[in-house]
């Protein structure tokens, strides 16, 4: 859990730091400033996203896909996603395409395979960027309320709130349990080839540490459910009135409509222009 500065090289265990996760969590949840997309109603954003998540699969026109990509790329940029997320995405997409290309060469593929794969990569890029643009800038609670309003069960939205509540506590506890094992256990004397003994030791610890964690969490959960009973949650779960009350702050405003209309116009334009480049 301990943060270490550059003065000494952080070990594997130190990189896994409670504080780091807490920091990340807070930054994700409330750290982001207002972005362009986070202003809109979550339901509108979910609908908007659904279009970009489904339609590209059925478009084989590269010009159209590029047009869509341009739009989502600009919006992604406006939502200031973390660099890390983008790097992970880039590595994933490129390496996946590369493997397929290399393996297809073994089966006699060539330029045609590369061309076809580039279309696929383009589609995946549009879809993934759309999800980053929309969801990385949306407050998780608003998102869960949005999902609630389109029919997700109350448990889900409860889970999101509960996740925020419990995450730091659970990580801290897991971390302390790991230390309990380490402070009473013994790490391997020899590291082994490529440190495999250490690897096995770390793996074993990370799994067995769940044993006390499961028991502790079970004990905790019992009180929590009693409290939920007292707070009326188990009744409210099925009460449409409560849901309405909870979601009453969600309102579709004029700017939501304008945004949808502009998006539709843009997409129509892209399709129209794309029809000239039917590749």
């Amino acid at each position: 859990m301990e943060y270490t500065n550059s003065a000494h090289k952080p070990s594997f265990w130190e990189k896994f730091s409670v504080e780091r996760i807490k920091v990340e969590l807070l930054r994700t949840a409330y750290g982001q400033s207002m972005t362009f997309l986070s202003r809109f109603d979550p339901r509108i954003m979910i609908a908007w996203y659904s279009f970009f998540a489904i339609v590209p699969w059925f478009i084989h026109n590269k010009a159209v896909l590029l047009g869509l990509l341009l739009a989502v790329a600009v919006l992604t940029y406006s939502s200031k996603p973390s660099v890390l997320v983008l790097i992970v995405l880039a590595i994933g997409l490129i390496s996946d395409a590369a493997y397929m290309l290399i393996v297809s060469l073994m089966f006699g593929g060539g330029l045609a395979a590369a061309w076809a794969l580039s279309t696929l990569t383009l589609k995946l890029l549009v879809i993934t960027l759309a999800s980053i643009a929309v969801f990385s800038s949306m407050d998780p609670e608003r998102l869960s309320d949005g999902l609630l309003s389109i029919g997700a069960p109350a448990q889900f939205s409860f889970g999101v709130a509960y996740g925020f509540r419990m995450l730091p506590i659970l990580i801290e506890e897991y971390n302390n349990i790991l230390y309990s094992y380490r402070l009473r256990g013994k790490s391997p004397d020899k590291k082994g080839f490529l440190g495999w003994r250490m690897l096995v030791y770390s793996f074993k610890l990370s799994v067995v540490a769940f044993y006390p964690l499961i028991l502790n969490t079970a004990k905790r959960t019992r009180t929590t459910v009693e409290a939920l009973e007292i707070k009326g949650f188990t009744y409210a779960m099925h009460d449409p009135k409560v849901k309405k009350l909870k979601l009453s702050y969600l309102k579709i405003r004029r700017r939501d409509i304008v945004f949808l209309a502009l998006s539709a116009l843009y997409i129509a334009a892209v399709f129209y222009v794309g029809s000239f480049f039917d590749a």
């Binding site: 003065a7 506890e173 380490r182 009473r184 007292i230």
Partner: protein, 641 residues
Amino acid sequence: MTSSVQAEHNQSIIIDVQDVSFRYPGAESNSLSEVNLQIKRGDFVAIIGSNGSGKSTLCKCLNGLIPTYYTGDFAGKVVVNGVDTSQASIAELSKHVAYVFQDFENQLVRPTVFDELAFAPLNFGYEDYKERALQALHMLDMAELKQRWIWQLSGGQKHMTALAAAMALDPEIIIVDEPVAQLDPAHAKLIYDKLALLNERHGKTIIVIEHHTEFIADYCKSVVLLDRGGKVRWTRPTQQALSSVAELTELHIQPPQVTQAFAALHADSRSGNGLYPVTIEQAVEQLQPLLAHRGHRPMSEQHQDHDERHTAHLPYQDNGAQLTAHASCLDHDERHQARPLHPSTNESAQRDNQSRAGREPLVHVEAATSGYQSIERNMSPTLKGIDLAIYPGERVALIGNNGAGKSTLLRLIAGIRKPWSGAVTVCGQDTRKVTPEQLSDVVSFIFQNPEEMFIADHIRADIEFFLKARKQSNTEPFIEHILQTFHLTELQQRDGRLLSGGQQRRATLAIGMAMKPTIMLLDEPTASLDIVSRREMTQLFDELQDHVQAIIVATHDMQLVADWATRVIVMHEGTIIMDTTSADVFQHPQLLDKAALVPPQIVQLSHALKLPSAALSVNQFVEQFRDKEEQDGIYQLSAQA
């Protein structure tokens, strides 16, 4: 703060428990047997009784968890604010009864304070749920916490949030299960102040389950004593209840130290109606004429003078630092006037250096800085350039408020945190160069939460874990010895999580001992323990001393400091502000106040009485008082009141 017992007339009965018996499913005996109890509207009641007397069970009958949620053999009738609990749902009853669990952290289910407060009213479908939440926020004067994340709150703030969340439904009755057990004394006092506020300003009926009679004396109006097996022995007004010293002691309930002292000093010091003082104020009130008689200046004058003296000498004291009205601040013997900080530490350091000359320190912390990364990814140090040496034979208490850096320091010594700069050397090993596993051959670290230490199937396996991991053979007799020392032989096959608080602490001590450490580190070892278990822990610490070269304890428990420690280190905001002995530390009320620490009641009382040196226990107090009596002539305690 004092809630004098007011004879309020025309009080209606708000809780009526009639012939209630209850047995948990599968239990062998009743947890409650034919309980009859009436509580008046607007009362502030403490429920006391030894472990297993059914205190929590009784309270769960009041909020309907029994018999609706817990099935079992239930008989009798409970009427709460006009509602028969067997006829209403639990949710319905929570409009009448607020309940704060003993493990209140687990009853908080939402991410932020305001969200938590609005949750129940929202679930009940109240249109004005936000207003209700705000109202609860204001009722408890905690508006500044509104947008805070629950997990960032201190224990006391979480407790307050749990209370406020229950208050959002505006119930008439508030039940709080052992607030002091889970909180440090300063926070516990805060919670009680809030309860008093709700009681006095808003007319709420308050019920607390409480072991700590000093809080009962300060806040409660009446006391219900439960006997083993869940029977009500009596209900009495607070002073009368707590003056029953013999009866309470027999049931392992410790009356306030003031009351004990008076009882021990003079049986005839009882005032006409057979009562002892139960608060420091009452004790001082009885003794003040006596002190005045001895030619001392009036107290109020001394107080002011005292105040100036401290601010003048202590440069680190914030301007306008408030003195609380503790009796400890009322008076100070000239001999004990607080010395300026630096001379004090230097003095003691010199003294210590002489006695330690030629000895190697076990732990050597040199200019160590460490801390956490803040939300803005800045480094925020919790320890700022600490220098410290711990020598063999020392019993060190680390005290200070939350966030002072006590836990960080312990973790540095245990090697599970490395200093950003500076160095920590433990038994000659630089902690940056060894793994925690290697360091654990000489250091054992007992976590604050025992449940995080139960990693094996049962506590015997937990105790053996260290030796087995090192493949030591023939450990059987040693393990048996440990089990015996810590009274765990009977419990060895049980899972630690299913033990009582005191048993859990004993088990963690045993785990630490079985590592045959040179140095033992304990983080809040007496937190959430009742008084009997606390005393037992202090005795076990003496046991440890024979096997371990040095013990370092981070604690809020001033009684432990008084009873056990030989060296006390006061920390504040990542630095050491005092390093002294336990007898001396209580001579610095400002310093303690700054670190949000409350000295034991008996220390406060001996300050008020100008005893030659602060008594650290009731027995010491009694001895000193008698000595003084002989010197100064006879104190006619019985002449008072």
